[in-house]
């Protein structure tokens, strides 16, 4: 114990005589460094005849030395005009950058387009009734979408997690007076087992226009613009006849394969085209069910899935990454 007191006394006088930072740092390393005196003394505790008391003394000694060095450092800093960085400064790093989820970024790019076209945004419940998810969309009783393996029911048969964004369309038609133009990014559910390439949650983007005049020409032009927004001005789009219960005529928009440019490859299964979603002129029965006179008002609707597009753009291999998975963002702009 006497030794410690002696060392403390010596150290006090040495530290007091220091005039430069470098000298103080030399003493700090001698005493507090990894190979320094105090660490050596700590490793000798177990061989000390009275280890507990020696350990306590040693801790006290270390605290005093740290305080001596810290106080001296503060003095030197106030007296010196040096630009030497201070000890214990907060971490220095590049500014922390926040990020929006890739799905959000994609939805926003589309939202922006539709805001320019005078659209509002809209939303509806995720727990949906059979009426709004199927009946009001002209889906007959034996449609495959009603099968148990496709829908996740909360209370069968009347309550389920919405299987399609069109349920928001059904809500919109029944809640608002035309004319209106609305777009709605939405999350929908199917009863699928989750694995690397399948998920039970999908992200759809849908839109609806109801006005005195809404033609297939308007629809095709709008979808083409949407695809140009997403895929660039050189995208090649075609429209084909397709069946959906809630529209008549129905439309299937396709995009020319971005890999083979129409020649046919494994990605497009030799067709040269990739299916992109569904669209059409709103079926008069759907308007009637919402209390909208189909002889006065006409409308079109369209929808597309976002997940595959987002995965391709962000080079994501595993669809589970999109929701609560391994998706992460670099903290700084690197």
């Amino acid at each position: 114990m006497e030794d410690l007191k002696n060392i403390l006394t010596q150290s006090q006088s040495r530290i007091a005589s220091v005039t430069k930072m470098a000298q103080l740092e030399t003493i700090r390393i001698e005493l507090l460094g990894r190979q320094g005196l105090i660490n050596k003394l700590f490793s000798a505790i177990k061989s000390h005849p009275n280890p507990q008391e020696f350990g306590r003394e040693l801790n006290q000694f270390k605290t005093e030395i740290e305080k001596l060095i810290s106080d001296k450092l503060q003095k030197l800093e106030t007296t010196q005009t040096s630009s030497i960085p201070k000890t214990n400064l907060p971490t220095v790093t590049l500014p922390k950058v926040g990020h929006l989820h890739p799905i959000t970024q994609t939805e926003r790019a589309i939202n922006h387009l539709f805001r320019e076209l005078g659209f509002s945004l809209y939303d509806g419940p995720e727990i949906e009734t059979d009426e709004y998810c199927f009946q009001r969309l002209n889906v007959p009783a034996n449609h495959p979408a009603r099968d148990m393996q496709d829908s996740i029911y909360i209370r069968e048969p009347e309550l389920l997690l919405r299987t399609q964004g069109s349920s928001i369309e059904a809500r919109l038609l029944s809640q608002q007076q035309p004319p209106f133009k609305c777009a709605f990014p939405c999350r929908v559910y199917r009863n699928e087992k989750v694995n690397k390439s399948n998920h039970f949650i999908f992200h759809h983007y849908q839109g609806v226009v109801v006005d005195h005049q809404a033609t297939m020409k308007d629809l095709f032009g709008t979808i083409n613009l949407l695809f140009q927004q997403l895929y660039g001005p050189n995208v090649v789009v075609r429209f084909r006849n397709k069946y959906y219960p809630e529209v008549e005529p129905g439309v299937g928009p396709d995009m020319q394969c971005f890999v083979c440019h129409g020649r046919g490859c494994a990605v497009c299964k030799g067709a040269g085209w990739i299916e992109m979603g569904g669209a059409g002129i709103i079926h008069p029965h759907v308007l009637e069910m919402a209390g909208i006179n189909p002889k006065v008002w006409h409308g079109f609707a369209f929808g597309l899935g976002l997940d595959r597009w987002v995965m391709a753009k962000y080079q994501i291999q595993d669809i589970r990454t999109l929701l609560g998975g391994n998706l992460a963002y670099k903290p700084n702009s690197l």
């Binding site: 030497i84 000890t87 214990n88 971490t91 220095v92 790093t93 590049l94 922390k96 926040g98 990020h99 929006l100 989820h101 959000t104 970024q105 922006h112 005078g118 509002s120 945004l121 809209y122 939303d123 995720e126 727990i127 009783a141 034996n142 495959p144 996740i152 209370r155 069968e156 309550l159 209106f180 009863n191 039970f200 949650i201 226009v209 809404a214 033609t215 297939m216 308007d218 095709f220 032009g221 789009v237 429209f239 084909r240 006849n241 397709k242 008549e248 005529p249 067709a271 299916e275 994501i316 595993d318 999109l322 609560g324 998975g325 391994n326 998706l327 992460a328 963002y329 670099k330 690197l334």
Partner: protein, 848 residues
């Protein structure tokens, strides 16, 4: 629906387009071609026939569409004359589900193999050729889309009855020998003794074979809902059910049936012995539709000439009377004027409609719900404060508040049956994942729906959840957030480093809106852990830290650099902390050393500061029945009057997963050292003994297991897992919580298991013991485990091999315990009690 190009040409002999053009045209007019294959100088096109186009489930319907599109001749002999004799066909229709049925009897049949062209065509449609008669029925189904069937009268008799089962027969055996359990309403064909056929699949007691000389041939259309219900209820889908569960055309039957009979007489010879039986209680009569030819122009937005419209409708087979159009009976999908307009537009060609004229961009009243603007504004502010947005599953494993939780009824992802009641549940899951990936200094948020219910009334609300690794920063950021939003600070729910705010409750001003900033930033799919390394670097004279960071940032490949910061400075010394991604430890270290020109200054935050000790070889995993072995002492640790031996290998299981540690002793020079405890640290197994000076490093010792103790716990452990399989089979909504595999052994689950199932479980689990299922234990990866497990514990390490247990064909599970090799070894299991308390079920068991 497959179409062979050469077969199609028989119906459209003047078709000149090549198969490739045909594919594109079929797709454009609504028959999407999803497959296109050239085989032996022919082409097979695979069409996705839409649900409303039952007419196109045969070549005939597709050819009708194409004859309109290409304005070419459709060649079908629709006036085949068949001379039926006068003898009555003895059939009886008692079911209202029979819409139309044609039948007759043919005797003196010659059953043999089919001609080569027919065999080839059926094979091109993935149908196995059987014999000439059966093959012809399949062929006619492919051509006209209407299934037909032949009954061998030597087996069935000639008096057949079509009737709903009404519990006449409990079971039915199909052609392939499968047994189906019939219900009351199933539509059956029987002969008072046996069920011979269902509407969509034949039976094994009426089929045509080489010995058949006489057969009843029938073609029918049934109530499609009945067929759909029967086929799905009996989990049997056939080529016939796919067609019969849709609206087929009752008026096409006579033509198709005549075609069928003509082919049978040609290829199987034979003589007609009964007259034509034609049951058609309610003949179909299509309704005329008021149709203005201008409607097609109005809908398309381009001018479509009237004469074109009239031509299309005529060629489709519509009856046209002024503005009244009556569609052909085969087109059950045409019911309203818009259906007719669609026909005109699709044949005019969607490609004729311009695609460069979007909807009028005039602004209409903004009806956007204010909460959507609030959500968007919050995202922008949080992003500017350095937060990352996450999106997660809204389904969770456990409820926060059982009475108000919303459960899914049938989700096949049954381990996540509940809709989240708080967004913090999702944030915690994400934080766990980020910690597994060693992601440093995370701060993130999510905005999404949360769900609850009360007395059957369901509620969903927008909820904002935020996480920051520093609570004080989180609190100050929330204040800044609402200052920037210009809204009063709402009620907040803090939970440690998380906060939740319900957005639906926030009142926004009437003119509240949103102006999005331009953003486009990157996100990364992490496939391995982040590697974080420190480096101490000196500069003389001292440098500006920001400039140093910029300097080193440029030196490291951006595809590998996750983040860089200076975490400490002292005078001219700087401690850098660098996180690397997309690479392994070794690569990260190499880059780190070269970047900072380090030699021995490297300090690795993730690694142990001392060289890693060699792991103990676990003989108990290699051979779970090993009772003794030799070992070498590699280290002796003495600490606080305790002594621990580390060997190069061990047979002693240190315990885990509910199974206790082994007991036994260590022998050295005939002296026994009983084991006090066994534990595990850094991959090494520590064997505690009473401190002794007689043992030294490198001594050879013998390890001796108390086998009775070990074997009993192996059996109890395996019994616990077997019991778990039975429990999950009976109620897969339970969430496993804990297994305790030593007396008093028990399993606990979140959720209710009916205690009255006790005897049933007892019986089932002991049956499985008698079945002597294999119990396999091996090493696997977390990815493989995910593929074959019901669920895996959330805290499993992702960077090393895992132990896997598999009983029989049950799903695998992660398990680090010691098991017996087969269920018979367990002996007998008795379920002693099933208790339910605090939403948890505890199942206690014993092994004898």
């Amino acid at each position: 629906m497959k179409i062979v190009y050469s077969e199609l040409l028989k119906l459209l002999p003047k078709l000149t387009v090549n198969p490739s053009q045909l594919r594109d045209d079929l797709t454009l007019i609504g028959h999407f071609v999803s497959g296109f294959q050239t085989v032996e100088n022919d082409t097979i096109l695979d069409l996705e026939i839409r649900q409303n186009r039952a007419d196109c489930l045969g070549y005939y319907g597709v050819a009708r569409d194409l004859s309109v599109y290409y304005q070419t001749e459709l060649k079908v002999d629709d006036h085949i004359a068949i001379n039926y004799p006068d003898q009555l066909c003895d059939l009886n229709i008692k079911s209202p589900d029979v819409y139309r049925l044609l039948a007759t009897t043919i005797s003196h049949l010659t059953i043999s193999s089919s001609p080569r062209w027919l065999i080839k065509l059926l094979q091109q449609h993935d149908i196995n050729p059987i014999n000439n008669l059966v093959d012809i029925t399949n062929y006619v189904m492919l051509i006209f889309g209407i299934p037909c069937h032949a009954f061998d009268t030597a087996k069935t008799g000639s008096n057949l009855i079509w009737e709903n089962n009404h519990d006449l027969y409990p079971q039915f055996q199909t052609l392939d020998g499968s047994t189906l359990n019939l219900s009351a309403l199933n539509l059956i064909i029987h002969n008072h003794q046996l069920p011979l056929s269902l509407s969509f699949i034949g039976g094994n007691n009426s089929g045509i074979d080489q010995s058949t000389t006489e057969a009843i041939i029938e073609m029918a259309i049934y109530n499609p809902s009945r067929v759909r219900t029967d086929s799905r209820g009996l989990k049997t889908i056939t080529q016939a059910s796919i067609r019969l569960d849709k609206q087929l055309d009752t008026e096409t039957i006579p033509m198709a049936f005549s075609y069928l009979i003509k082919m049978i007489l040609n290829y199987c010879h034979g003589q007609l012995t009964t007259q034509l039986f034609d049951y058609y209680p309610q003949p179909y009569s299509p309704q005329p539709i008021d149709f203005n030819l201008k409607l097609s122009t109005d809908i398309a937005g381009i001018n479509i000439p009237d004469d074109f419209s009239l031509n299309v409708l005529t060629r489709l087979g519509c009856q046209i009377d002024q503005q009244q159009i009556t569609p052909p009976t085969i087109r059950k999908d045409i019911n309203i004027a818009e259906d007719l307009a669609e026909e005109v537009i699709r044949f005019w060609g969607y490609q004729q409609i311009p695609i460069n004229q979007p909807v009028n961009p005039a602004k209409l009243t903004d009806i956007t719900p204010k909460v959507i603007y609030l959500v968007e504004n919050i995202k922008d502010v949080l992003r500017s404060l350095g937060y990352d947005e996450i999106r997660s599953w809204p389904l969770v494993q456990t409820p926060l508040d059982q009475p108000t939780a919303v459960y899914t009824q049938n989700s096949i992802n049954s381990e996540y049956p509940i809709l989240r009641q708080s967004i913090i549940q999702s944030l915690k899951n994400q934080l766990d994942q980020y910690q597994r990936l060693s992601l440093p200094q995370t701060q993130f948020f999510e905005i999404g729906k949360i769900f609850s219910q009360k007395n059957g009334q369901y509620q969903e609300q927008y909820s904002l959840g935020i996480y920051h690794h520093t609570t004080s920063k989180l609190q100050s950021d929330i204040e800044i957030l609402f200052q920037k939003l210009g809204l009063p600070l709402p009620q907040t729910n803090y939970q440690d480093k998380f906060v939740e705010i319900i957005l639906d409750k926030i009142i926004t001003p009437p003119d509240y809106s949103y102006s999005p900033p331009a953003t486009d930033n990157q996100a990364t799919e992490l496939t391995r852990q982040i590697i974080t390394l420190d480096a101490n670097v000196s500069y003389n004279p001292p440098q500006n830290p920001q400039e140093l960071i910029q300097k080193y940032t440029k030196l490291i490949d951006p595809h590998l650099l996750w983040s860089i910061s200076i975490i400490d400075t002292f005078q001219n010394k700087y401690t850098f902390r660098v996180s690397y991604y997309n690479c392994d430890d070794k690569t990260a270290k190499k880059i780190h050393l070269s970047t900072f020109e380090l030699t021995n200054m490297l300090s690795d935050k993730n690694m142990s500061p001392t060289p890693k000790s060699k792991e103990t070889t676990r003989l108990y995993y290699q051979d779970m029945y090993l009772q003794t072995s030799s070992a070498t002492i590699t280290n002796i640790i003495s600490k606080n009057n305790h002594q621990y031996l580390i060997f190069d290998q061990t047979i002693f299981f240190p315990g885990g997963g509910g199974q206790p540690a082994d007991i036994g002793f260590i022998t050295h020079h005939d002296q026994n050292f009983p084991l006090i405890s066994i534990s595990e640290r850094d991959g090494q197994v520590l064997h505690e003994i009473t401190p002794s000076t007689q043992l030294s490093i490198n001594d050879q010792v013998t390890l001796q297991l108390d086998w009775n103790h070990r074997y009993q716990h192996m059996k109890i452990h395996s019994a616990g897992h077997l019991l778990h399989e039975v429990v999950m089979y009976l109620n897969n909504t339970l969430i496993p919580l804990k297994g305790y595999h030593q007396p008093p052994a028990f399993l606990t689950y979140q959720g209710l298991l009916d205690p009255s199932l006790k005897n049933k479980i007892d019986l089932e689990v002991n049956h499985l013991i008698v079945d002597n299922l294999s119990i396999l234990c091996d090493y696997t990866t977390i990815e493989e485990l995910r593929l074959d497990s019901r669920s895996i514990p959330i805290n499993l390490p992702t960077n090393k091999k895992l132990r896997r247990l598999k009983i029989g064909q049950y799903p695998s599970m992660a398990d680090g315990g010691i098991q017996v090799k087969s269920t018979k070894e367990i002996g007998q299991i008795t379920i002693t009690s099933i208790e339910y308390q605090n939403f948890q079920t505890k199942i206690s068991y014993q092994v004898y």
